[in-house]
Each structure stands twice: as C-alpha cells, then as structure tokens.
Amino acid sequence: MSRKIIVGFDGSPASQRALDFAITRAKAQGDGIVIAHILEWSPYSFLTPEELAERHKRRKNELERAEKAILAPMVARVEEQGVPVTTALKYGHIAETLVQIAKTEDAAMIMIGRMGHSGLSSRIFGSVAGTLAQVAPVPVTIVP
C-alpha cells in the first residue's frame, strides 16, 4: 500500500518545520512525500478588464515562479534525505484544495505548519487548520 504524506507548503518557517517533521516520519515509516503549494484563488473575485486580458500570462508566471522559487529547492532537500517526493501546484481555496489533493493522491495524512493566527482574524476569515480539521478525509497533523 502506498503511503503518502501531503505537506501543505507555503514557504513560511512553520511550513518548513512541517516539512522537516514529515521527512523524519517518512524516513522512519518508508513513506513518500507530496509537497503541495496552493495559490489562493477564487473564481468569484472581481477583476478589471486589463487584469482579465493579462490573467493567462500572469498565471503562467505565477506557476513558474512557485515551481522554481518554492518547490524546486524543497524537492532537492527531501531527495537528499532519500525520501521519494512529488509536488502538487494548484490554484484554489487552500484547505479545500489540500483535501482534494489528499483524495486524488490517496494519501495517508496531511501535515501543515501552524500559522499562528489568533483570535479575531481567524474567527472572521477562518483558518486553514480549523477548516482542515473539520473536512479532511485523512488525519491532519499541525506542526507548531
């Protein structure tokens, strides 16, 4: 049975720690890692006509930048440790998209870093961790 750990990675120190934690776990249990980077996006946001015309170009640039600056160095780091690694780069609502990736990859668990939002802002906007805890189809580990 394939056992994959999805790591929600945004480049922040907390997500670095989550990835390190995932590497140790993966090594110990012979698991693989999927580094998932989600670009926050809503199809219901409002754009100006000029942004509409440039959207396709920008999307291409954003994906290239994320691939090169965020994912590639991490892949190298995981491979160094001898752990099998793939990546997932998607647009969407962060928690929902992580759940989607976990389903399609048939993952064993999801790991994310703690964002450290407290009180008001997470009450208003909701937090990725909070949403994941409620909707994830697999166990979720939140690394502080």
């Binding site: 670009l39 996006w41 199809p43 219901y44 946001s45 409002f46 754009l47 100006t48 006509p49 000029e50 942004e51 509409l52 015309a53 440039e54 959207r55 396709h56 170009k57 999307r59 291409k60 954003e62 994906l63 998607k90 647009y91 969407g92 989607q100």
Partner: protein, 522 residues
C-alpha cells in the same frame, strides 16, 4: 516612461487650466462649442436622425438596435429563454475544469462586463424614460432588455471565437477582430473596412460617452450635493482634476489597487441599490398591484403622456438600448478574455448581462419611481398631468432624470440621496476604467501594440476625463453619445454576416450537452 508620461499629463492639465481661466473661458467655451458643433453636427444628426410618425420622433438607431435584437432572437430560436439555467450553471463554475483554476472564470468576465454597463443609464436614464414615457415605458424597457440578450449572446460568442491570443498569453478581442477574421473565414469582403470603422467609433466613444459624459454627470451630482451644504457653484475643474489624476494613476501608473477596490465596491453598490429598491417596494406593498396595472395599461393604452402608448414604447426601447449596450459591441471586448474551449459558453453567460442590467436593475428604479407616487396624475380622469413645458409628466417636486430617482428613493430613506451620489461617482469611475480598456483595444487594433502608442491614448483619455467635468458643452456631449451608438452600425452589420457561424457552434454545443458529452465537473 511613467515619469515622462506624468510630466506630459500635468503639462496638458496646466495648459487647460490656463485655457479655461474664468475671464477667457466663457468666450473660448462658446466659440469652441459653436466650432465643434459645426464640425460634428452632421454626424450627430445622422446617428440620431429621427423619423416623425404621428408627432412622435423615433430615432432610427434605436430601431436598428431593436430590430437587430429581434432578428437574433428569432434566428437563434429564443436562445435567451432556453439557455438561462445553463448560463447560471456556467457562471457558478459547474462546467469549469478545476485544473483551469487561476484562469479568468465565466463569473469574472460577466462581473467585469457588467461593471462597465451598470451606471448612469440605470439610475438617470430610467428616470428620464418613466418621466417622459410614463409607467408603460417600463414594460417596453423590459421587452427591449429581453431581446437585447440575443444580441449580447451573438457578439460575445464571436468575441471569444475570433480573439487574438499572443505568445506571451495576453488576449485581445472584440468586434474589430471578428470583423476581420470572421469575414475572411466566410470569404466575405469588407471585414477590414468595418473593423476600422468600428475601431474609430470605439475610440471616440471611449473618450466621449465612456469618459467625458461620465465625469460630467458625476460632477453634476457632486455639485448638487455640495450645493445642499451651502457651497454654490462647485467648480468643475476640481472634480475633473481628481478624476483625471485617479484615472491616470490607475491606467498609466499601474496602481491596480484603486481599480481593484472599485471593482469590489461597485457590485456591492449594485446589490445595495437593488436591495434598497426591494425594501421600498415592500414598504409600499399595497401599491404593487396598482404599479403593475399602470405599467401594463401604459404600455398599450393612452395615459396622457406625450405620444401615448407609442411614446412609452420609444422611451422604453431607447433607454434599454442606452443602458445595456446590447449590439454596440463593447461587451464583446470585455468578455473575450475568458478561458474556455467553447466560445459559445461565454455567449450564454453574456446573455445574463442585459437581464441583470435592464430587466432587474432598471425595472427596480422604475418601480420605485412609480410606487412612491412621483408622477402626478389627474384624480378625475386618471390621466397623467404634463409639466409646464409639455414634454414630460409633471412630478411631485418638479425634478427629472437622476434627481427624480433621488427624490423617489429619498421619500422613504432621506439618507439615500448621499448614497446615490457615491453610487453615481463609483459607477461613473468603473465605467471609465472599462471604456479606457475598450478604447485602448480599438487603438492598438488601428495603430498596433506598443508602449508609446498606448501611453498616448491613455494620456488623451485622462485629458478628456478632466475636460468632461470642466466644460458644459452640449455639442461635445451630443457627439460622444453619438459615437457610442455609431459603433452599433458596423457591429450589427457584422453580426448579420456572421450569424451562420454562431448557429453552427451553438447547435454543436447544445447537442453535445444533451448527449452528455459535455459534463459537469462537480
């Protein structure tokens, strides 16, 4: 580049301020008005040439738009009624591939196109229609809105189908591209000629109706509110300068945040406007029945207005056409950026636009004016009473246009007049941003892409934004209105010529949808 552009703009503004200095201004303005009127009057007369039937004048361009919309409606078998639920499913994203997330969605294309059309037409134009044509005008406005959905469907499908996609991934689309490429595909002559004609009118329209007219009307509203605070004759050049600077920052300075804020606030204002209207209608629920019977009676029978039922029809058709721009071709530019493999899907989505703009928002304005009893009628005969000039229905406080809308809404909520000013200014601004883009696309179609060329267009755009609020020139405003409607001449000719292409795509799509080949992703 930007710095030089800024210097140029301020030089231009400084020159204009000097040119419109009070002492010189009066004489200069009048001279300019006369000169400009002589130079462009013939054009305005052609576009708004009216036939006189039984004492009522019917502008031929309104007939041109409505007849076009009727033909498209019949040709596509009442597509606007058959595909509404599918259009809503498309906007919700039911048929969007999740792997395309991050690309322009149907919702975004629709929202952007709407923010370009929802504006003064919905607030002031409707009040003019109801003020002159009576409640019956509302009925014909709705009919014209429903027919206009077929025009939008046709032009937006073609807009996506024949857009240019460049190597770097940006897109340019609009009537000028389907004129050139679509005509070539069908082996028809004259596509290039129509495209150039359309592009010229589009540039003039973008400076005029999409810009000068907007800042002019926004200033009229601001000056009015300033007047109620005791500041008489608030100078137009202040409004003009503010508009010009903000537009400059957005379209040349690349300050996206202002445009983004506007794009977010405008839909909210639209919802607030309709919401308030609904609340006012519900507060006067005992009048709803009367209002609708007035609307139906006025549409077909004599109610004392100028021109009777025909007068109501003309006013309704005219304002609907002015408000939703169906057949003008502007929407085809806005919709063409959507990411889809099926151009016809964007056509379906775009047919919601006249529905929201005219059938929902315009009707709300009309209902509030009728329900709050702004129009004076004779209690004995039940006929409407005309004002002293005899050209419109007498209103309770003698107001007309945007003032009438303001009075109607304020009769229940006195604070609404201030909200309305904010709404008018924001709607005007978002319309200007949209039209600056439409005009730019026409400009680059004529002169080619290139930073210097684009900057020249944009600087001129800022200058006209300033001019629009500063001067009160009837001839300039007439001309700018005429230019927007002139766009409909080449556009509707092109739509007639390309109808078979749209029908082929539409039938192919609908049959694949029915057979289950096209599936929902959710």
């Amino acid at each position: 580049m930007t710095l030089r552009a800024a210097q140029l703009l301020f030089a231009a503004i400084a020159l204009t301020i000097a040119g419109t200095a009070p002492t010189l201004a009066q004489g200069f303005e009048e001279q300019f008005d006369t000169y400009f009127g002589h130079a462009t009057g013939w054009f305005v007369n052609i576009i708004f040439y009216s036939f006189d039937i039984g004492g009522i004048s019917i502008p031929w361009i309104v007939g041109w738009l409505v007849i076009g919309a009727t033909i498209f409606t019949i040709y596509f078998g009442f597509i606007q009624f058959r595909m509404v639920s599918h259009a809503i499913a498309l906007v919700k994203g039911d048929y969007s591939d999740p792997n395309d997330a991050g690309e322009v969605s149907h919702f975004q294309a629709l929202a952007t196109a709407l923010s370009g059309t929802v504006g003064l037409g919905n607030i002031a134009g409707v009040a003019v229609a109801v003020g002159i044509g009576g409640p019956g005008a509302t009925f014909w406005m709705i009919v014209a809105g429903l027919l206009g959905m077929a025009s939008k469907f046709t032009e937006c499908t073609l807009g996506v189908k024949y857009r240019n996609e460049y190597e770097d991934g940006t897109v340019s689309g609009g009537p000028m591209y389907y004129m050139t490429k679509g005509f070539a595909e069908r082996g028809l002559p004259g596509g290039k000629f129509l495209g150039i004609m359309f592009a010229i009118f589009c540039i003039l329209g973008s400076w005029g109706g999409g810009n000068m007219f907007q800042s002019n009307q926004a200033h009229a509203q601001i000056a009015n509110v300033m007047g109620s605070f005791g500041i008489e004759s608030f100078p137009g050049w202040i409004t003009g300068l503010i508009f010009a600077v903000i537009v400059f920052l957005v379209i040349i300075g690349g300050l996206k945040s202002i445009a983004q804020v506007t794009e977010k606030v405008v839909p909210f204002m639209g919802i607030l406007y309709v919401g308030t209207a609904v609340v006012i209608i519900l507060m006067n629920y005992d009048m709803i029945g009367t209002a609708f019977s007035q609307i139906f009676a006025g549409a077909f029978t004599e109610t004392g207005i100028v021109g009777g039922a025909i007068g109501a029809l003309i006013q309704g058709f005219r304002r609907a056409a002015f408000s939703n721009e169906a057949g003008v071709g502007s929407a085809a530019i806005a919709h063409s950026a959507v990411r889809t493999k099926e151009p016809v899907t964007e056509g379906f989505v775009s047919l919601l636009e006249p529905f929201i703009d005219t059938v929902v928002i315009c009707t709300m304005t009309a209902l509030v004016i009728i329900i709050t009893g702004q129009l004076v009628s004779d209690p004995e005969t039940g006929l409407f009473v005309l004002n002293e000039a005899g050209d419109a229905i007498k209103t309770v406080d003698g107001s007309s246009g945007v003032e009438l809308t303001s009075a109607a809404f304020s009769s229940n909520f006195s604070w609404f007049r201030y909200l309305l000013v904010i709404a008018v200014v924001l709607f005007a601004f978002s319309t200007m941003i949209s039209w600056s883009y439409y005009g730019l696309k026409a400009w680059t179609y004529l002169f080619g892409e290139g930073q210097t060329k684009e900057i020249i267009y944009k600087l001129l755009f800022c200058f006209f934004a300033f001019l629009g609020a500063t001067i009160q020139l009837g001839s300039v405003l007439d001309f700018s209105d005429a230019a927007i409607f002139a766009m409909a001449i080449p556009n509707i000719i092109a739509l007639y010529c390309l109808l078979p292409i749209v029908r082929k795509d539409m039938n192919s799509y609908i049959s694949r949808l029915r057979s289950g080949e096209i599936k929902k992703f959710v």
